[in-house]
Subunit: 254 residues, 2 copies
């Protein structure tokens, strides 16, 4: 298989620097996936990205059970700026959290931050699992980064240490906020974050605490009651479409 | 439990006309859910809607194993117009189809239409299952309708019989279309539909067939590769936010 013949079967995130001719190693899991699951052979091409050096076409130089070495040959895409958009989300039931994580990566979130609220079941967060899902989704959706996964924290602590210049759009399941598009249109340029609660929503004290913050803006998502994960996904799509990178040049396959 | 004390535990779709004092019957499944699963008792209040007469607060008048009778007492919401928005979607793997169906109902689709494409596994559609999911999602999200479920059909037949006045937004996984927001802004008022393909996308012949239709407009959904179900959900959210009912009066809890 040559790089011009067809699209590589694999696209992987590696933390190492990427430069022509400088070999990078894969993890044991990545090696297992390539060698045992997908029956890759030395010589096959793989796309690599590391969040800093763009995307590279690399050749499998060595492949054994315990490890693999890939040699980057050609840069296929330069690293480009990505929207600065955080998603703060209370953990949900396992399937619904998996969905939020996958879609957050696909929809271009730069940081995912699990927040604990009064109605959150705090036993629900497995950080390594979330990180693996974020990485896998980023590999599949052709991002050049993996979203940052912030240390899970209690909502009040997160708000207390909030960077004042970042507007926090509070997805208000109470339905009282002005429409998201209206709020977005009125905002000055700058970094954004979205905040979505657990299945049972925020309690009254939390709602008061959030809306009392000078950086917070309640927004409404229409007349229907959206589940927590739907609210997160829908709001991310609208933010990217209106203020994010959906207006940029269409991507070109490598 | 009285209707002023707290929100009813149940919200159900019934096909029967709703009017004060005129009893309606529940299906066997609904009866089983109320009586056996949720241990409801005669006298408990239930919210009902039928897609035509608004939402009603009804009292359980009789409840047995085989059936239940509910008597509407007071209308809580009038029937209001809803966006005329179709979603044409190729069936996906079971979990992903379930997700599209649930989110289509939550995001206010008026008609869901399963379409078969060359890369669709046609064995994947169970109409009764889809209808049950649509109904359940509509009950939970406080819609006043259940989306219409159109008879699954082959893409070419659907296009051949298309109503010319309805613009078909083709969610082009090839990434070549102009941004969705830009296309929406330039459209005259009128009914819309979205078209999303299967996991493997449309083949070249299908893409040519679709884009050759005078009513079809290819649209782009940003620089990342979205899975089919993500594209459907994200595009629905953007359409509702920009052209649909997200700008209408915030809902008021009944």
């Amino acid at each position: 298989m040559t790089d011009s013949a067809s699209r590589p079967r694999f696209r992987l995130f590696v933390p190492a620097p990427l430069a022509a001719g400088v070999a990078v190693a894969l993890t044991r899991d990545q090696t297992h996936y390539l060698a045992a699951v997908m029956r890759a052979e030395p010589g096959e091409m793989v796309l690599l990205f590391n969040g800093a050096d763009g995307e590279w076409l690399a050749r499998i130089a060595a492949l054994a059970k315990a490890g693999a070495a890939l040699v980057p040959e050609r840069r296929t895409r330069p690293q480009t700026p990505e929207p600065d958009l955080w998603l703060l989300a209370a953990p949900l039931k396992k399937d619904r959290t998996d969905l939020v994580v996958e879609k957050a990566a696909e929809l271009g979130v730069s940081r995912l931050w699990p927040v604990f609220t009064r109605r959150t079941n705090a036993g629900r967060v497995n950080i390594e699992r979330l990180r693996a899902h974020l990485t896998e989704a980023a590999e599949q959706c052709e991002r050049l980064t993996v979203p940052d996964l912030a240390e899970p924290a209690a909502l009040d602590k997160v708000l207390a240490g909030w960077p004042a210049e970042r507007v926090l759009l509070f997805l208000d399941e109470g339905g009282g906020g002005p429409p998201l598009t209206q709020v977005l249109t009125g905002l000055p340029p700058g970094p954004l974050a979205l905040l979505v609660g657990p299945e049972g929503g925020f309690d009254d004290g939390e709602r008061r605490l959030i809306t009392a913050q000078p950086f917070a803006r309640a927004v409404g998502l229409g007349p229907r009651i959206l589940r927590a994960e739907t609210a997160a996904i829908a709001a991310l799509a609208v933010v990217q479409a209106i203020r994010g990178d959906w207006g940029s040049t269409p991507r070109t396959p490598c």
